[in-house]
């Protein structure tokens, strides 16, 4: 019975997602995304990060199971970034759009998979958004593809494409908001208070940031904003105010924190929540460029497999941030279930890590710094992220030709808590596999 109902419902769902709506908002999303990732790629090159972050480290802190992903030698690694910038430009121009988006998604995922110490939530968002642009029919309006006749122009897109992009943004906001509902954030206003104390030089508002109650106010406002903004953006009557709040919120975060392109990505992609024809409403219908249909009037549609794939992706994106619930310990401390969970700007950690290496054959023991195998910036991350500490211990073991045991003298503090050991100093970390979860990580001093 249930199967029959599902079969009847499936065509209904397919019809619903393929209802045609104006293509403008999706086109603006695509153009904004393309421009921003082009700027981001050029910025990455200009700041010399290809060298400092990818080529200079002798080793990389790979993700578990992805140690085979390694940087290409110079100048090919630089060329990858040049290629990403070019792909971003192609996405913006709508030139071989879906191929460019697919290439960008693969290329971006490649550089992000090289070193887990570089993981950023907004890089994960960019990867997913590029993937969506590769599978959605975003190339048939305001694009060189449609103007050249490479694809059939269409002033409409399936509403499912709009939903998919909105859902992607909604998941980011909602998960980031839910993650903020923890005692440190709500009751202690940490780490907000710590960050604001170092922002008193901010023009105009600097002195206000450390006034009593401001950290709590901003922490709570941030949580309320993240948890509810999708609701306000979805409701037509509150949408303009909500978008103004989006602009204000992300502009403030851009001023206060070094979070790169993320605020601008969110500001320029969130208008997808407006009516699909908002760009022409904004400037007036008369300036809307004509759409040249070359081969017929077939509207773009989402195939059943695409819809199923998007639904599976949505399920995956909901499950990933929740997986920490079945992993023992506090995700903020042991970071089990951290990747892909949109846990943005939630902790301020400090750590100290050194290793004791023992040659079991001779019984000799000696101390080494993480810098034996890492650069300073990698070592700083390894000291505050247990999975990277374990990866470092394995790199230290690999450094020696003979089999050695590696134990850590590692301490960590979170949001100003008292420092405690991260791991039992008697545990040989070479016996811990990287895929076994954070069972080996000691509990924080106060598990809220």
């Amino acid at each position: 019975m249930a199967t029959a109902q599902a079969e009847r419902a499936a065509p209904g769902l397919l019809d619903a997602v393929n209802r045609q709506v104006p293509a403008e908002s999706v086109a603006v999303f695509r153009i904004a995304f393309g421009v921003l990732v082009t700027i981001a790629s050029v910025r990455f090159l200009a700041r010399g990060w290809v060298d400092t972050l990818y080529l200079e480290p002798a080793n990389h802190l790979t993700y578990a199971g992805f140690s085979w992903v390694q940087p290409l030698p110079a100048p090919f690694m630089h060329l990858v970034l040049v290629g990403l910038a070019a792909a971003g430009a192609a996405i913006a121009l709508g030139w071989h759009t879906r191929l460019a988006a697919g290439a960008f998604a693969v290329g971006f995922a490649y550089i992000e998979l090289i070193d887990a110490a570089l993981y950023l939530n907004h890089y994960w968002f960019i990867t997913l958004a590029a993937f969506l642009l590769a599978v959605l029919p975003v190339n048939r309006f305001w694009s060189l593809d449609s103007r050249s006749g490479r694809v059939e122009a269409s002033p409409t897109v399936p509403v499912g494409a709009v939903w998919a992009l909105r859902a992607q943004l909604a998941i980011v906001y909602l998960c980031a908001g839910i993650a903020k509902l923890n005692p440190d954030w709500i009751l202690s206003a940490e780490p907000m208070a710590t960050w604001l104390a170092d922002r008193t030089h901010t023009p105009l508002v600097g002195s206000l940031l450390v006034q009593p109650g401001v950290a709590h106010a901003l922490s709570w406002a941030g949580a309320v904003f993240d948890c509810t903004i999708v609701l306000w953006l979805s409701w037509r009557r509150t949408r303009p105010w909500a978008y103004a709040a989006v602009v204000a919120f992300h502009t403030a975060t851009a001023m206060l924190f070094q979070i790169g392109m993320f605020p601008w990505v969110m500001i320029l992609t969130t208008p997808v929540f407006f009516e699909p024809d908002w760009p022409t409403r904004l400037v007036g219908r008369r300036v809307r460029p004509p759409v040249r249909s070359t081969t017929g009037s077939a509207a773009p549609s989402l195939h059943r497999a695409t819809v199923v794939g998007l639904l599976l992706l949505a399920v995956l994106e909901v499950v990933l941030p929740l997986r920490h619930l079945v992993i023992p310990g506090d995700v903020r401390w042991n970071e089990g279930g951290y990747y892909g969970s949109w846990r943005v700007m939630l902790t301020e950690k400090g750590g100290s890590a050194r290793f004791r290496v023992t040659d079991p054959a001779s019984g000799e023991t000696w101390e080494v710094d993480p810098q034996l195998v890492l650069t300073d910036w990698q070592a700083a991350q390894a000291a505050v992220r247990p999975d990277l500490l374990l990866a470092t211990a394995h790199l230290v073991a690999e450094h020696y030709e003979q089999r050695v045991e590696v134990r850590a003298d590692a301490w960590m503090s979170m949001n100003g808590s008292e420092a405690v050991r991260v791991v039992d100093p008697e545990l040989d970390l070479t016996t811990v596999t990287r895929t076994s979860g954070p069972w080996w990580v000691e509990d924080p001093p106060d598990t809220h």
């Binding site: 009751l187 009593p212 709590h216 100290s352 700083a380 503090s413």
Partner: protein, 354 residues
């Protein structure tokens, strides 16, 4: 419709404003701001520390001139040696705050760099080499001037060794250069010469706390690993007693104490100012004071000279190293977390903090 619109907009506003109002009631005390703390640290801690070093350097320069003024006596030599120990102590007490002018001018190296005895002897022996203070300041590398070279000369022989006029001139020259160098750093910290001098820039600089905490971490790293650890052989290499900086004056343990005193001035303050403690809170500051005291006691317990203790009494050195390592853990974890310090000054983006 209009009512609905107004109500919805009001709801959003109330949600945000309400959270602000509630937040205002959840506050604690009213701690001083970072610029206020840095201002007091600078005015009552850092500037006086550099001024003391500058005064001591002037005393050394005077003592060297006295030693070389006619007939050098043992009393003159003792006075000069005492003056050198004094300036060395005061200079190392500033090491925890070697930021700004001392780094920009490379004063940290020019004042206190391992000496090259052979080069110094060759320069003294060669009458063609000009050794006026101006020449030494401009033409001689860090390894042939500074406090370590003065130490080498002052402990290289008795008072009669300074009958040699060129040896005397060389000593007087390098002590004057040291005096000028430290005086210039002190003047920069006093803000002399520019309306918006260094102290103001430091106090208002974003990341100034990051800078001093990273500097303090580097100092502890050097003491724990590169000096005591290397001397004891805790790393991969064999024990290398030469890794500790003892010098002919045998000031190794005094140096450790003085550098620790500088760290103490920065972290928990002294009788004149509270250091960074207003930002750290009473509990953490108290623990830091305890760890500093333990480290001080452990260093005091090392029999002098340090280079011999490393070989003959390694347990005492190990105890001091462990006390300093414990302090480093607290600094790298709790202080860094409490102050939101970016370790290592990565300029890459981040959205996870940590």
């Amino acid at each position: 419709m209009t009512q609905l619109r107004v109500r919805a907009a009001s709801l959003l506003a109330v949600a945000l404003l309400g959270s602000s109002a509630l937040g205002a009631t959840g506050c604690g005390g009213d701690p001083p701001s970072r610029p206020e703390v840095l201002g007091e640290l600078t005015e009552a801690g850092i500037v006086p520390a550099y001024e003391r070093a500058s005064d001591s350097a002037a005393e050394l320069s005077g003592a060297a001139a006295q030693l070389c003024d006619g007939d050098p006596t043992d009393a003159d030599l003792d006075a000069a040696r005492g003056a050198l120990a004094g300036v060395r102590a005061d200079w190392l007490r500033t090491e925890a705050v070697w930021v700004g002018p001392v780094m920009e001018n490379r004063s940290w190296a020019l004042v206190d760099w391992p000496t090259d005895p052979e080069g110094v002897e060759e320069a003294i022996a060669d009458a063609q080499v000009p050794i006026s203070p101006e020449d030494l300041a401009k033409k001689v590398g860090a390894d042939m001037r500074g406090l370590r070279t003065a130490e080498y000369l002052l402990w290289g022989g008795g008072a009669d060794s300074f009958v040699d006029q060129r040896r005397c001139d060389y000593l007087v020259g390098i002590t004057e250069v040291v005096d000028d160098e430290i005086s210039a750093v002190a003047a920069s910290w006093r803000g002399e010469g520019e309306p918006d001098g260094y102290p103001a820039a430091f106090v208002d600089e974003p990341g100034a706390v990051d800078e001093v905490v990273n500097d303090a971490l580097e100092l502890l790293q050097s003491m724990v690993d590169m000096e005591l650890g290397a001397a004891l052989g805790t790393g991969e290499s064999e024990a290398d007693p030469g890794a500790v900086v003892d010098g002919p004056a045998g000031l190794g343990t005094a140096d450790l104490s003085d550098r620790l005193a500088g760290l103490s001035m920065l972290l928990v303050g002294d009788e004149s100012q509270p250091g960074l403690s207003p930002l750290l809170g009473d509990e953490l500051s108290g623990r830091l004071e305890q760890q500093l005291a333990e480290a001080r006691a452990a260093i005091d317990a090392i029999p002098e000279p340090l280079s011999r203790a490393v070989v003959e009494d390694p347990d005492s050195v190990t105890e001091a190293r462990e006390a300093l390592a414990a302090l480093r853990v607290t600094l790298a974890s709790e202080v860094v977390s409490r102050l939101g310090v970016t370790v290592g000054f990565s300029d890459a983006d981040g959205d996870s903090a940590g």
